[in-house]
Amino acid sequence: MHPSKSIIFFTVISGTGYGIFIGLLFNVLFVEISYNLEYKLFLSLASFLMIVTGLLSSTLHLGHPERAWRAFSQWKTSWLSREGLAAVITFIPMILFYYFWIINISGYILLLILTSFFSIITIFCTGQMYASLKTIPSWNNPLVTPIYILNGITLGSLFVYSLNFYFNYNLNLFEKFIYIIILLNFLSKIIYWISVRKKSNTNIETAIGIKSNGITFFEGPHTGKNYLTTEMINTIRIQNSNLLRIVFCVLSFITPIYMINQYSSLVTDPFIIKISMIIVFVLALIGMIIERYLFFIQSKHVVGLYYGNKN
C-alpha cells in the first residue's frame, strides 16, 4: 500500500495523545503525586494538540475535507465512521477532565477513567479499520489492533514519563509499567512479523479462477500507471526492511528501557538527563513512524495479483 504521509502522521500522533491518558491514569491511580499547575497545563495542552493535529491531518488526505462531517453517520457498519464518532465522543470527558483536574475539583479521576476508556476505543477503531480489510493479508491479522493500542500506550507513557522525570515526580512504579508495556509491544510485534510470513490463500489461481501449473502475467491493461497501481501496488522495494525493523526496536524499545534503567548511573548534569529523557521520547516517536511506514510499505493488496504481483 502507498504510505500516505498524513495517515502515518495521524495514526502515530493522535495515538500518542490518547496514550498519554493511559500513562497519566496509571500514575493517578497508583502513585501519590501532587501535580503542580504547570505540569497539568502542559500535559493537557500537549495531549489536546496531539489529538487535534492528528485528526486534522487525517482529513487532509480526503478528496472533500469539507464533507468530513458526513463520516459520522455509518457507525453501524464502518470502522472509519466509528473511529470518527469515538474520537468526537472522547472530547467530552477529556475537556471536562482538563477542567476538573486543573481547577482541582474532585471527580477528575472518574473523568480520566472515562477519557482513557474512550481513548482506547478510538485507537481500537483505527486498528480495526485496517485489521478488517481481508484484501490486505498482512493487515487482516488479529495482532494489528492490539499493536495499534500498545503503540499508543507506549508513546503516551514515555511522554508522561519524560514529563514526570522533568518535574522530579516519583517514578518507581511507573517504570515497571513502562517495562511491561514495552515488553508486550515487542512480543506482539515479533509474533506479528512471524505470522505475516504465511502466504495468503488468495493467489493468481483464485484471482482469475483458472487452475494451472504456471500462470504468468503477460500484458497489463495499459502501459502507464493508474490509480490502483499508484495507491495499492508499491513500486518501492525496501531492501533493508529487517534493518529498519531493528532501527525501530532500538529507537522505540531498547533506548527507552536502557535510559530508564541506567540514568542513575550516568554522571552528568541532572538537567541534561532531563532533556535526554525528552529526546528519548522523540526518538521513540520516530521509531514508531518508521514502524507505521513499514506497516504500509510492506503490505500487499490482493489487487496486485492482476498486475503481475506474487502473493
Binding site: 481481508k134 479462477g209 504456471g214 500462470i215 495499492m232
Partner: protein, 246 residues
C-alpha cells in the same frame, strides 16, 4: 445507507466468457465513452497527451499466459470491471453512506454528492473495481450502465451495458443472475461459471466462464489434406480470388 440489503429483487450482472474474449479492449473503450457522459461523468484523465497519462476507467483487460496440459500454453484475456458483489465490502466500509447497493437490482453505486474521497472502499475491494477521480475528489466505479439499461429513449435491444453491446465476439452477457429460469443462469450452469476470489467472501454477482484450456481438437489427430484433386482446388481458388477482385 451502507448496510447491505439482505436480499435484492434482482441480481443484475455480467457473465464473461474467457473462452471467447480476444482481448480487443473494445468493451473498455466503449465503457469509457458511455460513462464519461453518464451517471459518473466525466471520467477525468490527467495529462491525457502528456508523458505519463492516467485516467479513470471502469473496465480493464488484463492478459495472462496459462500453461496447459495438452498444448504448451494459452493466452487468456481477462476483462475485469465491478462484480456488483452481494456482500460488497466496499459498501459496508463507507463512512458516509455514499456507497450503496440498490435493493431493486443489486447495482453498487457511489453518490458523488456525498463521497468524501477517503478511498477506503477502494482498499476494501479485492478486485480493483473502484478508481479514484483525483480531479473530482470522489471515488468512481462501474454503474452497470444504469443510465443505459433502463433508458426508454433507446430501442429495447440496446438496453444493455456498453461493454456488452460493443463486444464483437459476444463474450459478455448481461442479465438477472438471481432468476433461475433466465438464459444467463442457464449459461452459467452449462459452462460451470465461477466466482473470482471466492475466499474473499464477497459473493460477486458477475460470473466468469472458464477458457477451454485442453481443447482436444489438435490432440491425436492426423493432419490430412481435405481435398483429393489438388489441381482442381487450385483452379477453384484462382476463380474465387478473381471473382472477389472484380
Amino acid at each position: 445507507m451502507t448496510e447491505l440489503p439482505k436480499k435484492t429483487n434482482k441480481k443484475l450482472g455480467l457473465v464473461i466468457d474467457l473462452d471467447i474474449c480476444v482481448g480487443c479492449h473494445a468493451c473498455a473503450v466503449n465503457c469509457k465513452e458511455w460513462n464519461t457522459s453518464g451517471h459518473s461523468s466525466p471520467l477525468h484523465d490527467v495529462e491525457p497527451y502528456g508523458d505519463d497519462p492516467t485516467g479513470v476507467w471502469f473496465n480493464r483487460i488484463h492478459t495472462f499466459e496459462v500453461e496447459t496440459e495438452v498444448k504448451g500454453s494459452k493466452t487468456v484475456h481477462f476483462p475485469k470491471s465491478c462484480l456488483h458483489c452481494e456482500d460488497a465490502p466496499c459498501v459496508s466500509v463507507c463512512p458516509t453512506g455514499a456507497s450503496y447497493k440498490r435493493d431493486e437490482d443489486g447495482i453498487v453505486l457511489v453518490n458523488a454528492e456525498t463521497c468524501i474521497g477517503c478511498k477506503l472502499c477502494s482498499w476494501a475491494c479485492p478486485y480493483g473495481a473502484r478508481e479514484y477521480d483525483e480531479t473530482a475528489g470522489v471515488m468512481k466505479k462501474c454503474t452497470l450502465c444504469v443510465d443505459k439499461i433502463y433508458n426508454e429513449n433507446l430501442p429495447e435491444n440496446e438496453r444493455v451495458p456498453a461493454c456488452v453491446s460493443s463486444c464483437p465476439t459476444g463474450a459478455r452477457s448481461f442479465g438477472d443472475l438471481g432468476d433461475e429460469n433466465s438464459e444467463i443462469v442457464k449459461l452459467v450452469s452449462e459452462r460451470e461459471g465461477y466466482n473470482l476470489m471466492p475466499e474473499q467472501d464477497c459473493k460477486p454477482v458477475n460470473k466468469y466462464l472458464p477458457p477451454k484450456l485442453n481443447k482436444d481438437i489438435f490432440k491425436n489427430k492426423e493432419l490430412k489434406p481435405i481435398s483429393k484433386d489438388e489441381d482442381q482446388d487450385f483452379e477453384d481458388w484462382i476463380e474465387q480470388v478473381q471473382g472477389a477482385s472484380e
